[in-house]
């Protein structure tokens, strides 16, 4: 199970690919991909988005689902999805609905 993530070109904000291919700022709104074909298709869309100067450095990351909640497998991605663990007032974790 994967989602595609990137950083937004303009401000570096962490984003994930949503259901309609548009980038979303919260992992909970990301589109979960099953199987190689879905991932490949999502990465193609992301490549187009890179060419359109919306995002940079897109890649697919592993996630699991816990009672419908999308949870990153790696700690690095958990931190990207939330913000610095040392600054709970900064990053996405500061938004009420983020985590």
């Amino acid at each position: 199970m994967k989602v595609v993530t990137a950083n937004r070109l303009l401000d570096g904000e962490v984003v994930w690919q949503g259901a309609d291919g548009a980038w979303v700022e919260l992992l909970s709104l990301a589109h979960v991909l099953e199987g190689k074909d879905e991932v490949a298709k999502a990465l193609e869309l992301a490549a187009q988005s890179i060419a359109d100067r919306e995002v940079v450095e897109a890649y697919a990351m592993d996630v699991t689902q816990d009672e419908g909640r999308i949870v990153p497998v790696r700690l690095r991605e958990m931190i990207r999805a939330a913000g610095p663990t040392t600054h709970p007032e900064l990053g996405k974790q500061a938004r009420v609905s983020a985590v």
């Binding site: 950083n7 070109l9 401000d11 570096g12 904000e13 450095e57 700690l75 610095p84 663990t85």
Partner: protein, 552 residues
Amino acid sequence: MYRYDEFDHGFVTQRTEQFKDQVRRRLAGELTEEEFKPLRLMNGLYLQLHAYMLRVAIPYGTLNGRQMRKLAHIARTYDRGYGHFTTRQNIQFNWPKLEDTPAILEELAEVEMHAIQTSGNCIRNVTADHFAGAAADEIADPRPYAEILRQWSSLHPEFSFLPRKFKIAITGAPHDRAAVQVHDIGLQLARGEDGNIGFVVFVGGGLGRTPMIGRKVRDFLPEEDLLAYSEAILRVYNRYGRRDNKYKARIKILVHETGLEELKADIEAEFEKIRYGVLRLPDEEVRRIEAYFAPPPLEVLAVDDAAVEARKASDPAFAQFVAHNLNAHRVPGHTSVTISMKPIGGIPGDASDAQMDVMADLAERYAHDEIRISHEQNVILPHVKIADLPALFDDLVVNGMAEGNSGLITDIIACPGMDYCALATARSIPVAQRISERFGGPDRQAEIGELKIKISGCINACGHHHVGHIGILGLEKKGEEFYQITLGGSANENSSIGEIVGRGFSSEEVVDAIEKLVDTYLGLRTAKEETFLEAYRRIGEAPFKEALYGTA
């Protein structure tokens, strides 16, 4: 203090304009990310986990109140209200927007600052002893030479695309506070038999995945040969350094693979070709630059101050501050004050915009408008009257910067780690915070004495863990953070690389492991004066290993 001349002003302004246009072209689609990335990196702009990061150069760690206030303004206006002082005496902002960076660079240029050569495979910001120009044990102020090296290395066309990055450090005192032996080139000022200034030269030191102590290539390099000899080293490195593998591309690998004698011969041969050319330093030019660093006029004053003594007797926190955060000054009645950026349980090296403003004010009021950033991620006021210490301390207390822990176990170096860094394999800062909390009691840390803990969140070793008396390296194992401990490292004039003590520890276990090591030391030291490092060097790793893992 050194002031930019017209040439510097011209080229920094030009470079800012150039980057502004590069950002415009990137956003307009005229440059791809592949084309733009090296350009932004040359201007200190990285992309990290959450956002861009801008690394601003603080040449040889020296700045004044106006510049510090500008950094505060940038933190407040373009970032999230704080900055992070680094182990290379620079400052990093963790949240700038790409579209704002040209404006930030314009603001920096107003106070003669920039982000040039804070990244990329070039000669990076030259670092120096943070007590330069003030320390009692100094042969001479190393900063004029650091400045000469800065001018020579800035946009040096031959050395803008080296095999890998290149770091130079210089110290003016026999006691090395600039870690020169773990730099690509390390320079230690010395006096020759005729009384003239020269340099002991080390080459090929470095940390990262292959830590090495620099090898001495010259016992005494005369002052006039500084640039020609440096150029010779860089030429040999640029020609023979490996470009096939970035992990083997630093000059330390070249020294190791070529052998010291052969490499020395190569350097000397190159040096002979150019030593009488344009790079020979004219004496009047050195003296001209030296004049920019002329010390402030300091009156010789009484060393003992009754008010300071009385305050020490009545205020333990002040006494602790005086005991640990002062460095002997060359002018009696003065001292260099370390403002700790390591509050107990806090983030090593972070300063808020408000704190930066306060430090600017304090520098102007008490320290002849001079500020230094140390590679240990603290801030120094180099020229303070001893009689001013109580008033200065009171101001620091009000602003949460009065921790008297310089050189103690809570004065931890930590890289940003996985809380920010895209390369990190584990977090560093939370481990530093937990160690700081565990040992942060004033009596406990004073009892332990000098103990340098250094933490890196990956093998690249930005947190200098190899040269920590206790080093901690954060790695990832089966998706979990785990921490490897090294013992016996040091970055002074008796540098050594720490030895891995055994298997690593989980995040939950690591602070307990540190406490076992500390308690073992306390039980084994011959006297309070024997530091952790001295005790370790005397008795070896066996009792520490035993304490951590039991009998093997």
